[in-house]
């Protein structure tokens, strides 16, 4: 959208668009930062019955606006939870099929939805040693539907990731299943410009919709590879005043809305 129309930041845009992807009544594997904000926002909008699950070992906490946790393993994250299982148990719920959505970020993501959060450059002597997988690999491997939520930047959207921390569709086609990953896979990629999905056959990334005012050229200019552009690309309404108001009330100190 044109910048003079915008009354929100990129972070706010990403949080709102991610929130919109979450279906009511589902269980969501959530990390700190924008994913948590998105889930908390969705709960206060169209999806009051989603359940937040944190890898630290927390089921269904009530995140208190203005008291946001900085990790998934702390008292603020566990506030009023119904259960505090071990970390392994959380991942077993997921491997068993009980976790519907997982939200991941990405330092790099390629056209088949493979994600790198490990190293930029060579593994043994990397140019940048990133924090690593955490639960992201597990979510990418066994969660039912993975939403990747990231800024739309050329350095992030690369032809081929340096390291597959969290597998998407690997080399496309049937290669994910052939590797033994019989469940899940990337569902949508939500950015601050567009919503993307994956082609059913080739599993290559495909633009599904752009936000109102965003030109498709803008989407492509900010990617290191060319995604599939279908004949019809949808258009999505920008964040509403209500969405923004509630989002900002959840993080009034802008701890995560940086």
């Amino acid at each position: 959208m044109l910048s003079h129309e915008r009354n929100f930041t990129r972070s706010e845009l990403l949080a709102v668009m991610t929130a919109r992807m979450l279906e009511d009544g589902k269980t969501i594997f959530v990390g700190v930062g924008l994913p948590m904000l998105a889930a908390a926002l969705a709960q206060r909008l169209h999806a009051p019955n989603i359940t937040i699950i944190f890898e630290g070992g927390v089921i269904a906490p009530e995140i208190k606006p203005g008291m946001l946790p900085l990790s998934t393993n702390e008292v603020r994250a566990a506030r009023k939870a119904v259960m505090l299982p071990s970390i392994d148990d959380v991942f077993f719920y997921q491997q068993r099929g009980y976790i519907d959505y997982g939200i991941l970020g990405a330092a790099q993501i390629d056209k088949y939805g493979n994600i790198n959060t490990s190293v930029i450059g060579d593994y043994e002597k990397p140019r940048v040693r990133l924090p690593g997988s955490g639960g992201a690999n597990d979510i990418a491997s066994t969660c039912s539907r993975v939403i990747v939520s990231t800024f739309h930047e050329k350095r992030r959207f690369v032809e081929r990731v340096d390291f597959i921390t969290s597998p998407g569709y690997l080399h496309g086609g049937n290669t994910r299943r052939e590797a033994g990953l019989i469940f899940g896979g990337p569902y949508k990629v939500v950015t601050d410009l567009a919503i993307m999905g994956f082609d059913e056959e080739s599993k290559a990334m495909r633009v599904e919709a752009v936000y109102r005012g965003v030109r498709i050229e803008e989407v492509l200019e900010n990617m290191g590879f060319r995604p599939i552009i279908p004949d019809e690309v949808g258009e999505i309404e920008p964040p509403t005043d209500e969405e923004l108001k509630i989002l900002r009330s959840i993080d009034p100190d802008r701890v995560m809305l940086r």
Binding site: G56, M67, N73, I87, K125, N137
Partner: protein, 318 residues
């Protein structure tokens, strides 16, 4: 084979342990001296800011152990301290960062990018399954995690086809730490350990390790444990040392007692932002090697700050 898992030797650790219910109270100084060695594989309990046995980390640094392999599912601030103190050679983890608010660790980057320390990366569940396999007494556990990833490829993890389902699975090798260090809410003198709130991977870690050092907020009478046996998650026969250390996880949190002190971590982080590795080293020399005990460190932090964290915990759960 990189992942040689000698279950017979590791089982002997457990078989030879003295299993009589004898008191194991000792000072932290003594516990660390007795059970750590240069080059040991040390698993650190809790997770990120939660129940990190920080007093024990300080003591390891103070006693100057070298070439340690540290095992921790989500590693944080404490890894920086171990790195700049020259204790840590290899980190077995799924993730390491001072935390969301500070992004990547500049200290970790320096050490790993210059090949001064090794970062052995698994998935989060991967670390959990390594410890769980050892805790269960089997050499591996199967999972769908890590299949197809560069993590699996780099590690050279074996895969197999399940004879019942025909599905492919990654086989995660057991990991038996030489020492597990846990910070818990309470224990009796014999080492029956209770944790309030989330337990993370501490149960499996203790069951997997050769030796277990438990620092606890409070040592209670055996009868109190027997009245609340449902809450015990590590039995005495796994445990070698019990050290009473209130606030022993500070500046990380201990559920039920105090919230993490992010302002303390932020002040550390500021040193790093300003002076890099030297900034981190200045934190260590002022707060760890420059003091004689964790109690002296806590005294520097001050009563007001500590009690503020207690209030903060109550405020969140209220």
């Amino acid at each position: 084979m990189r992942w040689n898992v000698d279950v017979r030797t590791f089982r002997e650790w457990a078989e030879r342990k003295d299993k009589s219910p004898t008191p194991k109270l000792m000072s932290l100084d003594e516990a660390v001296k007795r059970f750590l060695r240069n080059g040991a594989v040390v698993a650190i309990g809790g997770c990120l800011y939660s129940r990190t046995p920080m007093a024990a980390v300080h003591e390891i640094i103070r006693q100057g152990f070298r070439e340690l392999t540290i095992v921790r599912n989500l590693a944080g601030f404490e890894t920086d301290l171990l790195l700049v103190s020259g204790c840590l050679r290899r980190l077995i983890t799924s993730w390491c960062s001072p935390g969301y608010a500070w992004g990547m660790s500049r200290v970790l980057r320096h050490y790993v990018e210059n090949a001064l320390a090794e970062f052995e990366e698994w998935s989060h569940l991967g670390i959990g399954l390594r410890l769980k396999a050892a805790a269960m007494g089997v050499p591996f556990l199967p999972t769908f995690s890590m299949l197809g990833s560069s993590i699996m490829e780099r590690l050279g993890i074996a895969e197999m086809t399940c004879p019942y389902s025909g599905e492919k699975l990654a086989l995660v090798p057991a990991l038996y730490p030489d020492v597990a260090i846990i910070h818990a809410n309470r224990a009796d003198a014999y080492g029956n350990i209770q944790i309030d709130g989330y337990t993370h991977m501490d149960k499996d870690m203790a069951q997997a390790a050769r030796h277990v050092i438990a620092t606890v907020e409070e040592v209670v009478d055996g009868d109190e444990i027997r009245r609340s046996a449902e809450r015990t998650i590590i039995p005495f026969f796994c445990v070698d040392a019990v050290v009473e250390l209130p606030f022993g996880a500070y500046p990380s949190e201990c559920w039920g007692r105090y919230e993490a002190d992010f302002s303390h971590i932020a002040s550390y982080q500021q040193r790093v932002d300003e002076r890099g590795i030297e900034g981190a080293r200045s934190y260590v020399s002022e707060n760890i090697t420059g003091v004689s005990s964790f109690m002296e460190f806590l005294s520097k932090v001050g009563v007001e700050q500590l009690l503020g964290r207690v209030r903060a915990f109550r405020n969140v759960v209220a």
